[in-house]
């Protein structure tokens, strides 16, 4: 037999080839014929991704809300109080400290309140010991402006009202005293005297102590109760950027003899701490999401192993039709990827819906971080690839004769 070119060897042997579009249709054919199983096996991934997207979305929405709150309240607020440590004084600051603080250059606004010994009662017949945790304070007229506060009903004190028996209630105090409006001229009983309620304040997120206080003017406090007007709390606003400078000189300014007995705090830091606490919970839930993703991945791997066993004949047929081992491997890998991406997409949608629902219910703006969406889909792809790898290699290694054996 001649080894030379043959007359009818016109047929060139081209390598087997599977077009990219066919890879997708071949890879999805098994899923299309088993829709229920496809849905159930994608569900694990869906739950995992939804949990992660939801947790990230909700925490991001809540953080955005908190940031908006902090932004609105300002981070340039400082509050000065006597520190209540050992050998702490009588719980007040020197009387002239407000004036001194106001002379610090970058301080824009300053106000103080004086804690009173008197108690506030709803009327003269209730038990005087049941104060409900409320306190009475004599306030600077500048207090509301310094705190960026607002009245929810009525008016804030002015110079006239400050020297007559009128009172403005903090939001919690008003609630506990069952005062909801000021039009009817409700009266409360402070230190044995009747005071007219002229306003109710909106809550102060930066100064929750004031929510539980009844605020009266300093002149009436001095004339009616003969109170000494040493400040209990001084609040001040600095120019943006100068807060650390101001903070460092506040102690010596307020109390030159014992600057250590002055405690200075930045209320916005409290909200930020709250934010940090929430992110600890976020990490916990993210961990739970990761675990369910892992379980979902194992589920997909399991289903794929079963599919390879069930579809031995199909694998054999495809090999007989000219599929290479690589084609078979690609088919099952594609199938596993499609499965996990379906799960991932559904999970992202579900997670976004959960975020939208919860945030809307909380009155927050809805934030679904793009990173959560991208990360969710990327982890779905990675999980699909890992879960499909072993079953796909098993399918590819299956000998055609073995695969074609009748089941």
């Amino acid at each position: 037999m001649s080894d030379g070119p043959r007359s009818n060897e016109s047929r060139k042997l081209k390598p087997s080839k599977l077009r990219p579009a066919d890879v997708v249709s071949v890879g999805s054919s098994g899923l299309r014929t088993r829709k229920m199983r496809t849905a159930l096996s994608a569900l694990g991934i869906t739950i995992g991704i939804a949990a992660m997207v939801g947790v990230l979305g909700i925490s991001e929405s809540s953080r955005a809300d908190l940031q908006a709150q902090i932004e609105a309240l300002g981070t340039n607020l400082l509050s000065v109080q006597p520190s209540g440590g050992f050998g702490g004084g009588d719980g007040t600051l020197p009387e002239e400290s407000v004036a001194k603080v106001s002379r610090i250059g970058p301080v824009e606004r300053v106000a103080d309140v004086v804690e009173m010994e008197q108690t506030i009662l709803r009327n003269d017949v209730v038990n005087p010991n049941e104060t409900g945790g409320l306190s009475v304070m004599a306030a600077d007229l500048d207090l509301l402006a310094t705190l960026n506060g607002d009245v929810s009903t009525g008016v804030w004190l002015d110079e006239a009202k400050a020297s007559v028996p009128t009172v403005v209630l903090g939001s919690v105090a008003a609630e506990r005293l069952a005062v909801t409006e000021v039009d009817q001229g409700p009266m409360v009983y402070i230190g044995g005297e009747w005071f007219a309620v002229v306003g109710i304040l909106a809550p102060f997120p930066l100064a929750p102590d004031l929510d539980r206080a009844a605020l009266i003017g300093k002149p009436i406090a001095a004339s009616m109760f003969e109170a000494e007007l040493n400040p209990s709390i001084i609040v001040l606003r600095t120019r943006a950027g100068s807060i650390d400078q101001v903070r460092s000189v506040l102690g010596p300014t307020v109390d030159p003899q014992s600057p250590d007995e002055v405690s200075i705090s930045r209320p916005s830091e409290l909200l930020e701490a709250q934010d940090a606490t929430e992110s600890a919970f976020t990490n916990l839930f993210l961990g739970l999401g990761a675990v369910s993703l892992l379980v979902g991945g194992v589920g997909i791997a399991n289903v794929m192993v079963i599919a390879v066993i069930e579809r031995r004949n199909e694998i054999g047929l495809r090999r007989a039709l000219g599929a290479t081992r690589a084609h078979i491997r690609r088919q099952f890998l594609t199938e596993s990827l499609i499965l996990s991406v379906i799960g991932g997409l559904a999970g992202v949608v579900l997670g976004a819906l959960v975020t939208a629902g919860y945030s809307t219910a909380q009155g927050w703006q809805v934030v679904v971080p793009p990173l959560a969406i991208i990360g969710g889909l990327a982890s779905a792809v990675i999980i699909g690839a890992i879960a499909g790898l072993y079953p796909a290699m098993r399918a590819a290694r299956l000998a055609p004769t073995e695969a074609l054996r009748a089941t």
Binding site: R6, K14, P15
Partner: protein, 271 residues
């Protein structure tokens, strides 16, 4: 060479569709099981032949080796003139995708696909675009008499019709040889007869078909029978063995440009 008889020249110069040269297939074990014990066989282009033998005779192993689904332990396998014995997985897959068509006893159709797409799968790994695959598939289905069943799914077809779809899939890429493994094994006698008629018809039109069967009666209806027992060829009614050039030559040989005789002429003219 000039003095040789025409039949001999045909054997020397034409390319057989399939050629096995001293094929041995052993399965590991102690002692090893020798499923094929030195099989040599030549199937010419355009032949219709049966490999017949009882179960355990080695005919299934022979089918697997001829179809490049399994490798021989020793010996040479040539398909359409190519020595494929040394081919790796990728080139063997290419051989299957372009040179061999398989017909199985169990049809092996994919349930979720129409007859048309099942047949088009025969060209899937040739890298043709879907539209071209479907055109060729429709032509093949018309050839096997299923023009009215293109969009039907396997579960809407009778057994005979399913096997027709499988045959269409086996010929859609115009292979050098069609290997049919017990093609009537799952069919009733009427459907079996129709399938054999179809194979004869395809043979008339020029296809090279090898039917593997245990059914001596079915085998005897084909122009050539190769009887296998214990891994060896027992008898072969081939013209190359009987030296009777007339009886075994298939009628399809007369198709122009595609036959051993015309190749012989070309070859003779070249020389």
């Amino acid at each position: 060479m000039t003095k040789a008889s025409p039949a001999t020249i045909a054997q020397l110069t034409s390319t057989p569709a399939l050629e096995l040269i001293d094929i041995v297939k052993e399965y590991p074990g102690t002692p090893p099981v020798r499923a094929l014990d030195g099989v040599s066989l030549r199937v010419e282009d355009g032949e219709l032949a049966a490999i017949v033998g009882p179960s355990g005779s080695g005919k299934s192993t022979m089918l697997h080796v001829m179809g490049t689904l399994d490798r021989p332990t020793t010996g040479q396998l040539r398909i359409d003139g190519r020595n494929v014995s040394e081919f790796g997985d990728r080139r063997l897959s290419a051989v299957r995708s372009q040179l061999i068509g398989f017909v199985f006893q169990q049809f092996f159709l994919i349930d979720g696909m129409s007859a048309l797409d099942n047949v088009a799968n025969g060209l899937l790994y040739a890298g043709l675009p879907t539209a071209k695959r479907r055109v060729a598939a429709a032509e093949a289905l018309i050839k096997v008499g299923l023009a009215h069943r293109l969009g039907h799914f396997p579960n809407q077809l009778s057994g005979g019709e399913r096997q027709r779809v499988a045959i269409a899939r086996a010929i859609v890429h115009d292979p050098a040889i069609v290997l049919a493994d017990e093609p009537t094994g799952n069919l009733d006698s009427a459907a079996s007869e129709a399938i054999m008629e179809l194979l004869h018809g395809l043979h008339q039109a020029g296809s090279t078909i090898l039917v593997i069967t245990h059914d001596r009666e079915l085998a005897s209806s084909l122009p050539r029978q190769i009887s296998v027992r214990d891994g060896r060829i027992e008898t072969d009614t081939s013209p190359s063995h009987s030296n009777d050039a007339g009886s075994g030559w298939p009628a399809g040989k007369s198709a122009p440009g595609h036959t051993a005789s015309s190749q012989l002429l070309n070859r003779a003219n070249d020389e």
